[in-house]
Every structure is written in structure tokens, then in C-alpha cells.
């Protein structure tokens, strides 16, 4: 995504044509305006609407919407909202925990896959499958797998003498379980990107390292990892963004519970809007989340510009 911008930005301007005629100008607008219209109508407008609503209270009287101006009340309330705090901290723990696990496991599997010749396509096909399955189905699969009474996880652990545990029902393990499910869901994505990255590395560097007598570990640390840094950075950013948005699995597996132990920010937002019907307060929360997200992007982009790490 960041790469896409850099690509377009760096594509050289056509030197042969200095000015465009009226026909080209018309087509330039015609080809771009559908996308522009969609983004304006369905992203800019709703966010503007949220911003406006975040200063209001919405009540219903005789089927009519009544909006009253409340100023910054909602934003002030955010600071003392323990659910919002729990949502933010759980989302951070979830995102960094899950993505770290996915990166390490995905890299290891991709590295192993490059060591074999036969069966690479088959393994790749199997590992892609979870990426394509609906998040809600993943939730259903693991709700069954982690069931206290008949789930396969407790059965398997029973074989090695571990007592059955209510993984999703106890506050100590609920978030951990959701993280493990997310690792199961998205490690394949990291695997796929890392495999593509590893396959495109120049082979002569490895031959040179081997000639110099480098062992497998030295080769990994001094050759493979440094060459893979651009792919690693892009994959990390890509996954982190998606992890911040997690909703489906949590909705099905725990619904934020027990207590607030798996309360992630998407779920907090959902409850304010649709369970409690607090549109004004929910909007203030949304605007705050959107602001934090934009801030994150600005920081990431400026860090990228400073280091020039990728592309």
C-alpha cells in the first residue's frame, strides 16, 4: 500500500508529451471521477457525518430524530470510560501479540519451504486456505475446537495429561486464545508474502556466502534477514493494520468477554452504536479511533521516509 504510492510517485513523467489536448483532459477526469465520487460519498461524507454527530446527542421522539448539541461532553467522557481504555489496550496486546507470532511462524515455514523442491506447491495450497475462509467461519471452527466438553483441543491436551480448560470462558486465557486463533488465521498470509520474497532473492549471494564457509545460521542472520527487511516491514505494516480492525472472530468466540478481557476496539464501537444505541458517544469514539489511525499512518510514513527502508 505504501509501496503502491511510492511506485506511482516514482514513475517517470512522459517526456514526449508536454501538454494534453482537450480530449485527454476529459478522459483523465472521466476515468478518475468514479473512484473519487465513491470515496467522497462513502468515506469522506460518512466521516464528516460522524464528526458532526460526535458533538450531539441523538434521541427519538414520535419516530423523529432529535439532535441536541452537547459540545465536547462525549470527548470528555472518553477519558474516564474504562471500556474504551480496555478496548485500546486489548487491541494493542492482541495486534502486537498476534502479528509477532504470525511473522515468526510464517517466516520459519517459508524458509523451510524454500529448502524443499518437491511438494512446495502443495504446501503453499494448504497454507493459503485459512486466508480465504470467512472470519466468522474461523470463529465457528474454533468455538467448536475450544469447546470445554467436546473440543478437540482439550481432547488432545488430555492425551498428554493436561486437564481440560475453559479456554474462552476464563478471563486469564480468553485473550490468549483469541490471539492463537488469529495466528492460525493469518500466519499463512505472512508465509505467502515471505515465500514470494525469499523466492525472488538473488541466488548468487547465497552461493558466495556458502563459498566463504557460512553455516546455516550465519547465512540466515547475515544474508537472508538483511535482504528480507523490505518484505518484513511491508508484511508487518499490512498485518498490523488488519489486526487493529479485528471484529469477526471476537464477535463469535467471546463477544468481548468474559468481563472486558477480550474487549477490542471494534467491539466497543459496535456495542455503543448498535447495542446501546448511543450514536453521539459512539461517533466521538469513532472519530478518536480514526484520528489515532491517521496519526499512526503519518508516523509510519515519516519514519519510512527518514530511514528509506523500503522500496
Amino acid at each position: 500500500m505504501a509501496a503502491a504510492q511510492a511506485q506511482i510517485q516514482s514513475s517517470p513523467r512522459r517526456p514526449t508529451q508536454v501538454f494534453e489536448d482537450r480530449g485527454q483532459r476529459l478522459w483523465r477526469w472521466l476515468t478518475f471521477s468514479p473512484a473519487l465520487a465513491m470515496m467522497l460519498a462513502l468515506s469522506v461524507l460518512p466521516i464528516a457525518n460522524l464528526f458532526l454527530t460526535s458533538f450531539q446527542n441523538i434521541t427519538w421522539a414520535d419516530g423523529q430524530q432529535v439532535r441536541t448539541w452537547v459540545g465536547l461532553t462525549h470527548y470528555q467522557a472518553l477519558f474516564s470510560d474504562s471500556l474504551f481504555g480496555a478496548g485500546i489496550s486489548n487491541t494493542l496486546i492482541f495486534a502486537f501479540g498476534a502479528v509477532a507470532g504470525q511473522m515468526v511462524l510464517g517466516f520459519a515455514m517459508a524458509l523451510l519451504c524454500t529448502k524443499i523442491v518437491r511438494g512446495r506447491v502443495l504446501y503453499r495450497a494448504i497454507f493459503i486456505l485459512p486466508i480465504l475462509i470467512p472470519g466468522i467461519v474461523i470463529g465457528a471452527i474454533w468455538k467448536l475446537m475450544l469447546n470445554f466438553d467436546f473440543g478437540l483441543v482439550n481432547k488432545a491436551l488430555g492425551l498428554v495429561g493436561i486437564l481440560p480448560h475453559d479456554w474462552l470462558g476464563s478471563p486469564e486465557t480468553a485473550l490468549f486464545s483469541v490471539i492463537v486463533v488469529d495466528i492460525w488465521h493469518w500466519t499463512p498470509f505472512c508465509f505467502l508474502l515471505f515465500l514470494a520474497g525469499l523466492e525472488s532473492l538473488p541466488q548468487d549471494v547465497f552461493e558466495a556466502a556458502r563459498m566463504d564457509g557460512a553455516g546455516a545460521w550465519q547465512e540466515l542472520i547475515y544474508v537472508t534477514l538483511p535482504l528480507m527487511i523490505p518484505t518484513i516491514v511491508v508484511t508487518f505494516a499490512f498485518r498490523l493494520v488488519l489486526a487493529f480492525k479485528v471484529f469477526d472472530e471476537v464477535y463469535l468466540l467471546t463477544s468481548g468477554g468474559p468481563g472486558t478481557s477480550t474487549e477490542v476496539i471494534s467491539f466497543t464501537l459496535y456495542q455503543r452504536f448498535f447495542t446501546e444505541d448511543k450514536a453521539g458517544y459512539g461517533s466521538a469514539m469513532s472519530v478518536t479511533v480514526i484520528f489515532l489511525v491517521s496519526l499512526l499512518l503519518v508516523v509510519a510514513l515519516s519514519a519510512r521516509r527518514r530511514t528509506g527502508a523500503t522500496s
Partner: protein, 275 residues
């Protein structure tokens, strides 16, 4: 050479364990769809498969699953068509037309921010807007929402594919007096067809999988498959075997796509991020 054959076995074993960790939960869940509730609770390894869960989910009067399936297909195909056409035009425009740099940067930065926002944050605003123009509980509302949600990814992907078309071909066409629609249709389009296929397949799958927005914008008649499956989990007494059966049915497009078009999926998933 001997070192190579020596170390191959542990590699194969580790990869096989990885593959088993991916496949076992899926197979076990599909198998649970063929069990009776009692067989599932008892956890017998061997069981006589029954079809009644699937029959119940698909044909029972109280189940809307076939309707949900049809809804998901309609929304998936329509939103994919809309999204991919709009994205291809935009990618071409931003890449090959003479837009000022700030327009391109601002637009792409906005698509990035939009892509990072949890859809739940927008769902309520979309719901309000849909109701204001009479599109609540219609396919149109959900189709527009899904097309918009997938638009950033589709634009980035198509931008990569359009960029890979050699500029010389376009310049040669201009020399021959071709205008913009001619270039787009006869020069660019034939060369980006594989990329277009990859983007379309991914967009369809993401629409098929989308839950949060479908949950808020649909009602009984327009509900999609994920919304229907989520309902199972909320029943007071969860029908586990029926939940497993409908989960198995919901995985069919993913498995079909994987069997038929693995090449395109890999292309779509890797090109956008790595390139």
C-alpha cells in the same frame, strides 16, 4: 550433497506438522457437520456420517441458509464488478494520465487511512445514510458498502498491474492516432487480464467473508452467509452440529477458488504488498 538429503527429513516433518495444524481443525469441523449432537459430545473417533444437519440447514422451513447463500453471491458478484471497474479506471488514470503529484498523493493517502479504519466505525454512518435515501435493508446499500471497502486494495493492486504495462506500447498507439478509450481497451486491458482476474477473485472472496457491515446493513431478507452463521452462536442452546454444517457450506467458495485459481490468488495476495 549428503548433507542435503540428511537435513531434508526434519524439514518435511516440520512442514507436514504445519499442514496438519491448518487442515485438522477444518476437517474436524466439516466432520462435525456429519455427526449427531450426541456423537459430537461423546467424541467417538469413528461415527456413522449422517446428512440431516446439512438437510436441516439447507431445506428446513425455519432455516434461511439458501436465501443467505444467494444473497452472498449477488452481493459478491455485483460489488466485485463495481469495485474492479472503478479501481481499474482509477489506477489507469492515476498512473498514466497527467494528474498533478499532489492529487495522486492525497488520494492514495486517503485510501490508506480509509483502509485502516475499522469498518464498524463507519457502519453506523452508512446505516444512517442508507436510511436517509431509502437504501436500508437493500442489496444496493450493501453492494456499495462492500465495493467501497475493497476499493483501496483493488486500486493498489491494479496500479501495480497497470504500471507493469510497457509505456512504449502506449506511445506507439498514440503515434498511430489512438485515443484514450482505445488505448485503455485495446492496449492496457489485454495485458492486465491476469491481474484483473486476481483482483476480482480476491475482491469477491473479501466481500463473501465480510461480516461487520453486512450485520448492520441487512435484515432477515438480505442477510449474507456470515450473518447467518453468527446467529447460531447467539442462540441460547447452540446447535453445534448445524453450525459446523453451515460453516462447511460457507467454505465452499474458498475451496473452489483455491482448486481452480490458486495461481491468481497468490499473484493477488503477493503483488500488492511485495511489489
Amino acid at each position: 550433497m549428503s548433507r542435503r538429503t540428511h537435513s531434508a527429513l526434519p524439514v518435511h516433518i516440520t512442514l507436514a506438522i504445519g499442514a496438519a495444524l491448518v487442515l485438522v481443525p477444518i476437517i474436524w469441523t466439516v466432520a462435525a457437520g456429519f455427526r449427531t449432537q450426541i456423537s459430537l459430545l461423546m467424541g467417538d473417533v469413528l461415527f456413522t456420517p449422517i446428512g440431516s444437519n446439512f438437510a436441516e440447514v439447507l431445506w428446513s422451513k425455519t432455516s434461511d441458509f439458501l436465501l443467505n447463500y444467494r444473497n452472498s453471491i449477488i452481493v459478491g458478484i455485483a460489488s466485485t464488478l463495481l469495485c474492479v471497474v472503478v479501481a481499474t479506471l482509477a489506477a489507469f488514470s492515476l498512473n498514466r494520465m497527467r494528474w498533478p503529484a499532489w492529487t495522486v498523493h492525497l488520494f492514495l493517502a486517503w485510501t490508506m487511512i480509509f483502509h485502516m479504519i475499522p469498518p464498524v466505525a463507519l457502519a453506523s454512518a452508512w446505516f444512517t445514510m442508507a436510511r436517509a435515501v431509502g437504501l436500508e435493508n437493500t442489496f444496493t446499500g450493501l453492494i456499495l458498502a462492500h465495493a467501497t471497502l475493497n476499493l483501496p486494495m483493488a486500486i493498489w493492486l491494479m496500479a501495480v498491474f497497470v504500471r507493469d504495462v510497457p509505456k512504449e506500447l502506449e506511445e506507439a498507439a498514440i503515434m498511430d492516432g489512438a485515443d484514450t478509450p482505445h488505448i485503455l481497451w485495446h492496449v492496457i486491458l489485454p495485458l492486465i487480464t491476469p491481474g484483473l482476474a486476481a483482483t476480482s477473485i480476491l475482491t469477491f472472496i473479501f466481500s463473501w467473508n465480510e461480516f461487520a457491515v453486512a450485520l448492520t446493513l441487512t435484515m432477515k431478507q438480505t442477510a449474507t452467509v456470515p450473518v447467518a452463521i453468527a446467529k447460531f452462536a447467539q442462540d441460547f442452546e447452540i446447535q453445534y452440529t448445524q453450525m459446523a454444517a453451515s460453516a462447511a457450506l460457507a467454505m465452499v467458495p474458498a475451496i473452489l477458488v483455491l482448486l481452480v485459481a490458486q495461481r491468481y490468488i497468490v499473484k493477488g495476495l503477493t503483488q500488492g504488498a511485495v511489489k
